[in-house]
């Protein structure tokens, strides 16, 4: 979990990613309660409405579910949903910039593929 947030990116997005990371790295398991809006707001000193927006989006995506009067919990299919989503953004966040940079350096498709294959040998 990050200790502070980045003021130049949407805060609700960062809260959302924090929760996603906690689920992906097993620090919160399926069926367990996630921190509440107020807990996030106090921890990061952010507006509660902003924290709520991040949490509510995860409810809409089926990652979390609400138990009235108790709080928000991690759904059984949470991890599956998150992996699908992260794969999609992997392309955008890693593959696209990689290709852009490669193009700038005149690295051909074949060369790039070789580099990726050999990348873990370094």
């Amino acid at each position: 979990m990050n200790n502070s947030l980045d003021d130049s990116k949407p805060i609700f997005q960062q809260i959302k990613e924090q929760i996603e990371d906690m689920i992906i790295n097993h620090s919160i398991l399926e069926g367990e309660r996630v921190p509440s809006t107020n807990e996030f707001a106090s921890y990061y000193k952010i507006n509660p409405a902003t924290a709520a927006k991040g949490i509510n989006q995860l409810v809409d995506e089926g990652v979390l579910y609400k138990r009235r009067g108790v709080g928000m919990f991690v759904s059984d299919q949470a991890k599956h949903i998150l992996f699908q989503k992260r794969k999609a953004s992997f392309i955008e966040n890693y593959v696209v910039p990689l290709k852009t940079e490669a193009k700038k350096l005149n690295i051909s498709e074949e060369e790039l593929q070789e580099l990726i294959k050999g990348g873990d040998e370094r």
């Binding site: 980045d6 003021d7 130049s8 805060i11 997005q13 952010i46 409405a49 955008e92 852009t100």
Partner: protein, 288 residues
């Protein structure tokens, strides 16, 4: 309480402090009021608090002008930079007066906060350091629980850790009871995460009213070869540009990040503080 501002103008000796301001604050939220010195923030808050009359236009709180209306002024608390309290009063007198003025006053909270900021009831305002006087202002502002509470640079002399504690207390108190909090500050980096909506004033005009996350999501610094970038940003709301050799960086509001990246430009987020500087410096301004 609903605040409606319509063509609000205030002249001081012929100079416009507020110039045809129009906007509304509909819900209890934490609002950030930003702008350079002389942008009109303090004048606006004084009119809202019922301390000043506008030259023309109107400011209505739940449909009424606040000037000289006790029903409205008792639901508003304005904490200024300094001189909030008479010098020869003791702290306990300050609290008693506030408790009589504000129907929503929370004496228990005031007592807790005194302890928190190490103030004693028998100290005289005169004898307080600047930081202690600011702490007293913050205590009155929080404990007033006024439906509209305004903090106008309330922390002269408060050290970083006391300010940080103040922000925590503000969030805590807001969580327990929602109310309209208007927070004017130059220390934007410290508090920008607290705001649910920001208003940026420049030369007595409102130039931005937006959710901070919306700004963070649409305002970027984009860089690339000047020749390509110039074409790409033409017609967009550019608030700042900088050049180095054949390269250029432009800060743009209302930018589609993915589209810009797909065009091969580098895109970076902009902090609220930086955006404020660009928007209110002479180079940037309000060109749209």
């Amino acid at each position: 309480m609903k605040i409606e501002v319509n063509n609000l103008t205030k002249l001081y000796k012929g100079k416009k402090a507020l110039d045809q301001l129009s906007f509304s604050l509909d819900e209890p939220k934490i609002y950030g009021l930003l702008g350079r010195n002389g942008a009109g923030k303090t004048t606006f808050m004084q009119i809202l608090a019922g301390l000043l009359l506008p030259t023309s236009g109107s400011l209505l709180v739940d449909g009424e002008a606040p000037f000289d209306k006790q029903r409205l002024t008792e639901s508003m608390c304005l904490i200024k930079e300094g001189d909030n309290f008479k010098k020869d009063l003791k702290i306990k007198n300050v609290l008693t007066i506030a408790s009589m003025f504000y129907p929503t006053w929370d004496q228990e909270l005031a007592r807790q906060l005194l302890e928190e900021f190490s103030l004693q009831e028998n100290m005289k305002v005169k004898g307080l350091s600047k930081g202690m006087e600011s702490a007293l202002g913050i205590i009155v502002g929080l404990a007033s629980k006024a439906p509209i509470t305004m903090f106008d640079e309330p922390y002269i002399g408060l050290d970083a850790s006391a300010r940080s504690r103040f922000y925590e207390l503000l969030v805590e108190s807001y969580q327990k009871e929602k109310r309209t909090i208007i927070f004017s500050t130059h220390l934007i980096d410290e508090v920008s995460l607290l705001f649910e909506e920001v208003l940026i004033f420049d030369d007595g005009k409102l130039i931005v009213q937006e959710e901070p996350d919306q700004l963070r999501d649409t305002c970027f610094s984009i860089s690339g070869p000047a020749s390509l970038l110039e074409d790409y940003i033409s017609g967009k709301w550019v608030v700042h540009t900088q050049r180095l050799a054949g390269n250029m960086t432009a800060t743009v509001i209302g930018l589609d990040k993915h589209e810009a990246q797909a065009n091969g430009f580098q895109v970076e987020g902009v902090s609220m503080q930086q955006l404020m500087i660009y928007l209110t410096s002479k180079q940037g301004g309000v060109k749209k």
